[in-house]
């Protein structure tokens, strides 16, 4: 076992983990944060996307020990006291989801994009979300939601 300490959604955690523990299972099973979904399990679909030190990462393709000392944000950590995060609000308003399984990953990838590029073009949004799959064919509304969130200054 290896001891790690990290910040998740603003809260400090210390934990003992087996080195082979993937970050997504650490978040879901040890911390009980089940908003981050496991989709393809092969780092293709992006459902498990979280932020590590502010940048999008596929948490099924990282070891928990690699996040030692880092700041992790999951979908649970986005909404503040004032309600939904602007990206979440935009996904809600633009109906950027159907079954919702891919949504936490898309929201986190979108937050990461808007941090790097606050005013992306439609083409840039589509490129930036290439690591996330939606099997309900929801891309059109997802792109609109990211545009709306950008306009709202997310």
């Amino acid at each position: 076992m290896t001891r790690i300490s990290l910040t998740v959604n603003g809260e400090s955690h210390e934990a003992e983990v087996e080195p082979r523990t993937l970050l997504v299972y650490f978040l879901r099973e040890q911390l009980g944060l089940k908003g981050t979904n496991v989709g393809c399990d092969t780092s293709s679909c992006g459902a498990c996307t979280v932020l590590v030190d502010g940048e999008s990462v596929k948490s099924c393709n990282q070891l928990a020990v690699q996040a030692d000392g880092c700041e992790v944000t999951t979908i649970e950590g986005l909404a503040g006291g004032g309600g939904l995060h602007p990206v979440q609000q935009a996904f809600h308003e633009k109906h950027a989801l159907q079954c919702g399984y891919c949504t936490p990953g898309f929201v986190m990838a979108s937050v990461s994009l808007l941090t790097e590029n606050p005013n992306p073009s439609e083409e840039e949004i589509r490129q930036a979300l290439e690591g996330n799959l939606c099997r309900c064919t929801g891309y059109h509304n997802i792109v609109e939601a990211v545009q709306a969130a950008a306009r709202a200054g997310a």
């Binding site: 290896t2 087996e18 080195p19 082979r20 523990t21 993937l22 299972y25 399990d41 092969t42 780092s43 293709s44 992006g46 996307t49 590590v52 940048e55 999008s56 990462v57 596929k58 393709n61 990282q62 070891l63 020990v65 690699q66 990838a109 990461s112 994009l113 930036a128 290439e130 690591g131 996330n132």
Partner: protein, 268 residues
């Protein structure tokens, strides 16, 4: 799938990493974007992982005389936005922007990528095309390996088991491009083509056209002799052995490579 159990060690320096590699069946972990999928599929079951991902002093791009030095732990996303590379060696950010997806580019490193030596990897082809030099440190000190000697087979390199790649040196290029066709967004290259003009000479490399990255020597020779892009591109297949797999047949790859080489040359 989760990886088979392993011991985990975190290196505090390159020398420390080299020391830790002396252990039985130890493997380096950088960003993990190639290695973790392999561990999860249990294609690899190292006894120990030596994590070098925190060696931030190996994350840099700097001008070094007439060459550009890139620290082995520089991440793909950093290559994409680096101003020195944009000015002097744009073929690297161009290729790096096509690796995986943003999540992968946030963690994956140039050193990890080329040391993994996937024949479908993009940066290996670029380094071979540029006649890059790869600097490795081992128990006996440092040595420089020319890219032409680095890739020895699929997923195999000239690195010894106790050596770590620390730096990559590339020349400034006058023009360069990387074209890649993949079946799906964020997929590996069905075929990739790097082309660059270095000291007035055009150099061309191929991804996924054999067991290692390859140079298109026939194309280069034709261009040096004054051939047109189309005539030179007709020699793309020389010396290649394109694999046939679920993404494409061998014949399709051979055809595609010729088309991409012609387009790349027209862009220079």
């Amino acid at each position: 799938m989760i990886p088979a159990p392993f011991e985990y060690e975190r290196a505090g320096s390159v020398d420390h990493a080299v020391e830790l590699l002396a252990g039985d069946d130890a493997k380096l972990l950088a960003g993990g974007q190639s290695l973790i999928p392999v561990l999860r599929l249990r294609f690899a079951r190292p006894a120990t992982l030596v994590d070098v991902g925190r060696l931030d002093d190996l994350r840099y791009v700097r001008e070094d005389g007439d060459r550009i030095a890139i620290g082995a732990l520089t991440r793909h996303a950093e290559l994409v936005r680096d101003p020195v590379l944009a000015r002097h060696c744009a073929v690297i950010p161009h290729a790096a922007a096509h690796i995986g997806d943003p999540q992968v580019r946030h963690r994956g490193t140039i050193g990890g990528s080329v040391a993994h030596a996937d024949p479908a990897g993009d940066l290996g082809t670029v380094l071979l095309t540029l006649d890059a030099e790869l600097v490795a440190r081992g128990p006996g000190g440092e040595r420089t390996i020319p890219a032409s000697e680095f890739f020895t087979g699929p997923f195999q390199t000239a690195l010894a088991s106790q050596e770590m790649l620390t730096e990559i040196r590339v020349p400034a290029v006058e023009a360069g491009t990387y074209l890649k066709l993949a079946r799906r967004s964020a997929d590996w290259a069905t075929v990739g083509v790097a082309a660059a003009r270095v000291d007035g000479r055009v150099q061309v490399g191929l991804t996924s056209m054999g067991m290692t990255p390859l140079r298109a020597r026939g194309v280069e020779e034709s261009l040096a002799g004054g051939a047109s892009a189309a005539d030179a591109a007709a020699r793309t297949g020389e010396g290649t052995d394109p694999p046939g797999d679920v993404s494409a047949s061998s014949e399709y790859r051979a055809h595609l490579a010729g088309v991409l080489v012609r387009r790349a040359l027209e862009q220079l």
